[in-house]
Symmetry: C2
Subunit: 203 residues, 2 copies
DNA sequence: GTCTATAAATTGATAGAC
DNA sequence: GTCTATCAATTTATAGAC
């Protein structure tokens, strides 16, 4: 079935190109013409695969979600110690350090931009699910470490917000060194939190 | 001079309206017609005060910068203890908790959106200066507490990134409770960092 | 200085040939 | 299924009357 094969390939090429451009330029600055050009697909053909620009963006988010889930599953399988899994999460931004410093977090920045869309649009809340996946998975790890429900959730939120905030600052200041150094601090915080140097009481 | 007076008032009305809309809808979704409407100024008149949409956005950033600096100066004058000053910084988002949960941080979200503009545009890096002001002021406080240059800067970055990340998550999940709870955690981290429960050595 | 009307450009979306 | 040509709407920016 050469036709169907070509279809799937062009469709995924469009999603790949859109994913790149949404990260580099954001949703509003990215035109369908630009996506078509990078995917090497004629402009008019885009609407055969995606009825609207919004539906293309939703496909991009779905692709991100699938990637994130696959990565989490791989870490879950490859590391039995939840501490190791959380460390992998913290270090993940380093894999694309240059890109993060240049364009920010591909999930967080997209999420924040889409939130500014008209309330009620499905796309406006679609990005938020990406960050929710982070928090939920981190929460699972803290629970596996014996933390109770509320505490595990709070720790997961703290971890994800620290990593997200670090990427935002590293991007703002365009510094991979800042990214690496601050992520090491998050790691240190995690270590101290999981096995405090001493008792937790205050002076 | 009634003419000049009216000019300044309309100009500042435009900046005020644009500041609100940039926070609520972002830069790209906000049209000059919408700004003019909210400021109750005819559309064609906008271009008398601001040659381009970019220059209006720059005026908004300048207004934000002035507000931030004024707030920092007030805290510096009103609190002699740098710890108190840093706590005020951490609690600042609570003043507009509802707005933060609904629209995100007015400085951080604007900053992130403008970074996606064409590289080389002055406006693309203008937002970044806002976050830099935060970091620089926080760094001053840590130095006043006796921290050496590099350590003070790293702590300031950690504090600002934690607060920014917290606002991002609170906005994403639309929760003022999350905002308050996670900011309390940042405060606790600050307390533990400034006077550790015990020695900093690892087990 | 103020405002109306409109130009000019971009772009999302569609119609219809092949 | 694929692609060209074009429509329709939005929006920045300007020209020019008052």
């Amino acid at each position: 079935m050469p036709a169907a094969y070509a279809s799937l390939e062009k469709r995924s090429e469009l999603v790949r190109a859109a994913k790149e451009l949404l990260h580099e330029q954001g949703f509003h600055r990215t035109s369908l013409a630009h996506v078509a050009e990078r995917a090497r697909v004629p402009l008019g053909n885009v609407h055969y695969y995606f009825k609207t620009k919004e539906s293309l963006a939703e496909a991009v988010i779905a692709a991100h979600g699938a990637e994130i889930s696959a990565q989490f599953q791989a870490w879950t399988e490859n590391f039995s110690d939840p501490r190791q899994r959380l460390r992998r999460l913290i270090r993940w931004p380093l894999d694309g350090a240059e890109h993060v410093a240049r364009f920010g977090c591909p999930h967080g920045s997209l999420c924040q931009e889409l939130e500014k869309l008209e309330a009620g649009t499905p796309l406006a809340t679609a990005g938020a699910r990406l960050l929710a996946v982070y928090v939920d998975w981190a929460e699972l790890q803290f629970r596996a470490l014996g933390r109770r429900a509320k505490d595990a959730r709070a720790l997961a939120l703290q971890l994800v917000s620290s990593v997200q905030g670090t990427m935002l600052l590293a991007h703002t200041l365009r510094s991979t060194e800042l990214l690496a150094e601050q992520l090491r601090r998050v790691e240190r915080w995690l270590g101290d939190t999981l096995s405090p140097p001493q008792a937790r009481s205050r002076a």
